[in-house]
């Protein structure tokens, strides 16, 4: 446990307030953790996924002796320390080569874990497409009916969605749409049913990223063209620990917001606004410092520029013509 700190100044108080639970949460921060022995492949995967997740990403690039399915103490601690609620852990062992573990936290506790094996990987640097700048939200497509029906793939969808697009927004700038993340499945093997859960029976997951280009279509909606930008990942499902039902129910609880709140920026604090006795909304605006040099004083004859002078100049000009 971290010690309880009392803020000593206004800045640290604000920082602590920002960490407290909020009605509308900011985007989740993800920590990318490197295990004790990660190969080139895992390093690349972590680096590329982090570049897509930036700026809400933290890299733990030193060797960390972590085994998520054995002990989760480190993650609880890191989560509190960094105020992060997602983890991507890369570990490599003989038994489970190129292991990528998603961990999702709730209230600084581990909510669920999912282990993936990276079977094939092409880095971002191998593609020539235009990479998205940090902070842009991707479009996401999940191309299989299993993402809605099979519990393991539902978890995959939920986690990937949370990683890239988790924050709730109420508007998006259409010119800022840059890339697409596609998650698709290989055709399921012959013996596959919705109840099968062993890793051998489950199909591979393909994760692909594309840059979007908008072409004129003669209509308001443009035609979309895609260009691969990487990373392109083929991953298989391994172990998983699904969320505890009670905890999940707590975590997905939403306060029913009043319509007024929704209209006024989703429960955010309204500053510099007040309603007066007549019921009118009054806003306070900071207008900057007034430039008194340009102030128009009283119009007195004595303060005016001499008229005769001006006239004289005019006459002179006329005469020249």
């Amino acid at each position: 446990m971290l010690r309880v700190v009392k803020p000593k100044n206004a800045r640290s108080k604000r920082a602590m307030l920002a960490r407290e639970p909020q009605e509308v949460e900011p985007p989740k921060t993800c920590i990318f953790v490197k295990g004790t022995s990660t190969g080139e492949r895992l390093n690349g995967v972590l680096k590329d996924l982090m570049s897509l997740k930036r700026p809400n990403a933290v890299s733990f690039s030193k060797k960390n002796a972590v085994h998520p399915f054995e002990s989760t103490d480190s993650f609880t601690f890191w989560s509190q320390k960094n105020d992060a609620s997602l983890f991507l852990v890369g570990t490599h062992s003989k038994k489970r080569p190129h292991d990528l573990t998603f961990i999702r936290m709730y209230d600084y506790r581990v909510l669920e874990m999912l282990e993936l094996g990276v079977e094939a990987y092409t880095p971002m640097s191998a593609f020539s497409g235009r990479k998205p700048p940090p902070g842009h939200r991707p479009l996401m497509t999940f191309d299989s009916p299993l993402f809605d029906t099979h519990p393991r793939f539902q978890q995959v969808k939920s986690l990937l969605l949370d990683l890239f697009n988790g924050a709730e927004i109420d508007a998006i700038c259409l010119a800022g749409l840059e890339h697409v993340v596609q998650v698709s499945l290989a055709p399921p093997p012959p013996g596959f049913t919705n109840e099968s859960t062993s890793s051998a029976e489950l199909p591979l997951i393909h994760v692909r990223c594309y840059a979007m280009r908008f072409l004129a279509s003669g209509q308001r909606t443009p035609r979309v063209e895609l260009e691969p930008i990487g990373p392109s990942l083929d991953v298989s499902l391994r172990r998983s620990s699904p969320a505890d039902e009670d905890l999940w129910r707590q975590a997905t609880k939403r306060r029913k917001m009043e319509k007024r709140d929704v209209e006024h920026g989703l429960g955010k604090k309204r500053k510099n606004l007040a309603v007066d006795e007549g019921g009118d909304l009054i806003g306070r605006v900071h207008v900057g410092k007034q430039d008194l040099g340009k102030l128009q004083g009283r119009k007195v004859k004595a303060l005016k520029e001499e008229r005769t002078k001006r006239r004289k100049v005019d006459h002179d000009e006329e005469e020249e013509e």
């Binding site: 407290e20 639970p21 909020q22 009605e23 989740k28 936290m105 709730y106 209230d107 909510l111 939200r137 479009l139 996401m140 497509t141 999940f142 191309d143 299989s144 009916p145 993402f147 809605d148 939920s158 969605l161 949370d162 697009n165 988790g166 709730e168 927004i169 109420d170 508007a171 998006i172 700038c173 259409l174 010119a175 800022g176 749409l177 697409v180 596609q182 698709s184 499945l185 290989a186 393909h206 692909r208 979007m212 908008f214 072409l215 279509s217 003669g218 209509q219 308001r220 909606t221 443009p222 035609r223 979309v224 895609l226 691969p228 969320a243 707590q250 975590a251 997905t252 609880k253 939403r254």
Partner: protein
């Protein structure tokens, strides 16, 4: 000049934005996400996987873009901004919902009395100086008494009466009192939090209900006429006191045995009874004994009329 041919020729060069799908996509536009329920074409997947995935991604992205561009838009210097509806997929939160701040003692009282919160302006009008001054802080109005150059000393003031010190002490005392109240509010909130966590919502509600009934009964007899001349409401139940119950004088041997055994078992446990408070283990109530002994030797007890009380 007829330009329709030219337009048609131009349009034919532009590619279509229409996409044919067997089953329509499941789109959650708040998360910019589409789920494609259509099964995969295994033949194409086997032969040219990347091309197939690429074309599938393009189609689905196009459908998402079509959906996005059909949403209501507001303009901005950076381009059109699409207004998104609330999401349909539920993702877990990172932290629990914020809890409402526990009300302070004053807030509770104000709510019960229906007192509206009024904002107190920091500036106060100074009648003497004819300016607005800060209520507190540097040059604040609350320091007025301390900073006066001439103070009227009360008639019965002691010799060492220091009006400045007096005023300053009074202010310090007020501040200390306020701080004490603040700390008590925090303590009360913590206590309430710890007590609520042990009961489940149902029990909590039941407990509240009983407490409320008890409070209501108390208030009904708390008027000058002990509730006799109060206005009765429609459907108001009659107040009932506690009904005392007595065991019958004669009861069966079995029942009598059971009661006696129950008493015996209580005696046997060696647990302190509920009445004896705290940690004194011995049977003797020392304070009571001292009181008893001291009364014996001293003055006899007298009642309000001054008569000696007899036992």
């Amino acid at each position: 000049m007829d330009v329709s041919d030219l337009l048609r020729a131009g349009a034919s060069k532009q590619k279509s934005i229409q996409v044919e799908k067997g089953i329509p996509l499941d789109i959650d536009i708040a998360y910019l996400t589409a789920t494609d329920p259509n099964p995969m074409d295994e033949e194409e997947y086997k032969n040219e996987r990347e091309e197939y995935l690429h074309s599938m991604a393009r189609e689905n992205a196009q459908l998402l873009i079509n959906h996005l561009f059909s949403l209501p838009v507001t303009s901005s210097p950076d381009g059109p901004i699409a207004q998104l509806p609330p999401p349909t997929t539920s993702l877990p939160r990172a932290k629990p919902l914020p809890k409402p701040k526990p009300p302070t003692r004053w807030e509770k009282f104000a709510a019960a009395k229906g007192i509206q919160k009024k904002r107190r302006e920091n500036k106060v009008w100074d009648e003497e100086k004819q300016v607005f001054r800060d209520r507190w802080g540097r040059g604040g109005k609350n320091k007025e008494l301390e900073e006066q150059w001439l103070v009227e000393v009360p008639q019965n003031a002691p010799m060492d009466y220091d009006p400045v010190k007096e005023a300053r002490d009074a202010k310090t005392k007020r501040i200390a009192k306020n701080e004490g109240q603040r700390l008590k509010n925090i303590q009360r909130a913590a206590r309430a939090k710890s007590s609520t966590s042990q009961l489940n919502p149902g029990q909590e509600r039941e407990k509240l209900k009983v407490q409320l009934d008890r409070d209501l009964a108390q208030t009904r007899v708390s008027t000058a006429s002990m509730g006799k001349f109060d206005k009765k409401f429609e459907g108001e139940a009659k107040l009932r006191g506690v009904k005392r119950q007595f065991d019958p004088n004669e009861k069966s041997v079995e029942a009598e045995k059971a009661t006696s055994l129950a008493i015996m078992s209580k005696l046997d446990t060696g647990r302190p009874s509920k009445r004896s408070k705290g940690d004194n283990d011995d049977v003797l109530n020392v304070r009571k004994a001292i009181r008893h002994e001291s009364r014996k030797g001293g003055q006899p007890r007298r009642d309000s009329q001054g008569r000696v009380k007899r036992k």
